[in-house]
Symmetry: C2
């Protein structure tokens, strides 16, 4: 039961976006630039960072929808998404992504936890300044999205096929329009 009178039938963040289009617009744009815009990080890498942070923040809607988007980028590999959430250091992802996930995990707790040696490790694995910037901001932004979704008490259905379809739409089309308004 949402804490305020959100439009019925819209899951997770969609309900907040429909309630307040003025804030939805920049929130959609930010997600689109970070997760779907031009980048030397792949869509899968960026969605895995978003999924990992949402998992650490225990936000069911965000970790499931972005996990599905990551899986869609990975040709349906939901098992890899679960590995990253459970223990990314042993997951089948690149050494660069592991180093970026260390930074994302620290930002999820407190930006001040990021140490020069965390940055040095990521650089030694080939991370650029722009990739480091975007990793910090994806992690920071999901600390917003997660709290928004949970703080409004939004409806978060557990129908996995809905998330799989949503993830596919997000991976293909990005974040400027709702996957529910096709």
């Amino acid at each position: 039961m949402p804490h305020i009178a959100l439009p019925a039938g819209l899951p997770g963040i969609s309900a907040g976006f429909a309630f307040r289009p003025e804030t939805a617009k920049p929130m959609r744009e930010l997600a689109h630039v970070l997760l779907h815009g031009p980048s030397t990080l792949t869509g899968a890498e960026r969605e895995l960072i978003a999924t990992f942070v949402s998992s650490r923040n225990d936000c069911y809607f965000c970790q499931t929808s972005h996990g599905a988007a990551a899986a869609a980028h990975l040709g349906g590999d939901f098992a890899l998404v679960d590995e990253v959430k459970r223990n990314f250091e042993d997951a089948g992802v690149s050494a660069k992504l592991k180093a970026l996930l260390v930074i994302a995990g620290k930002v999820q707790q407190d930006g001040k936890n990021v140490l020069p040696e965390d940055i040095a490790r990521a650089r030694s694995e080939g991370a650029t300044d722009l990739e480091l910037h975007d990793t910090v901001l994806i992690a920071a932004a999901f600390c917003m999205y997660n709290r928004y979704v949970d703080g409004l008490g939004t409806w978060q259905p557990t129908n996995q096929s809905m998330y799989a379809e949503m993830g596919k739409h997000l991976a293909e089309n990005g974040y400027l329009t709702s996957s529910l308004q096709r």
Copy 2:
């Protein structure tokens, strides 16, 4: 010393914004709608919520700049800003704002901490659904801005007159343009 090659001489979030204009645009817009756009919450109330959350996140740049913006809205009352940060339940602010600060403080930790009784208290003090929405989102958004500023290791000067001037500019003009590019 910033973790990446940010433009020199720009304090706090300004450096991140100059480094990545594509993400700066929606981040500025979101702050502008929430803190400076039309609202039944005053500018002072909204800046106090932002300052309080930034203080709980221990982000020096954000709590000082938004604290100065709140003080500017309050005719220079920096003492009230400090009271709100220290112990808002005993501060000289409205019962409605105190109830909203309870919600903001919970969102700062985890959106799921917000309870129906927190919402009921705010409603009994006159808070509307839109005010509740914006309180949740201001708190969530500052969990992003704070982590962004700290996670990049931005330069955060301690020159109080710079913050006072910045706060005055923000209170008067909002967030769409930099207070440093006048």
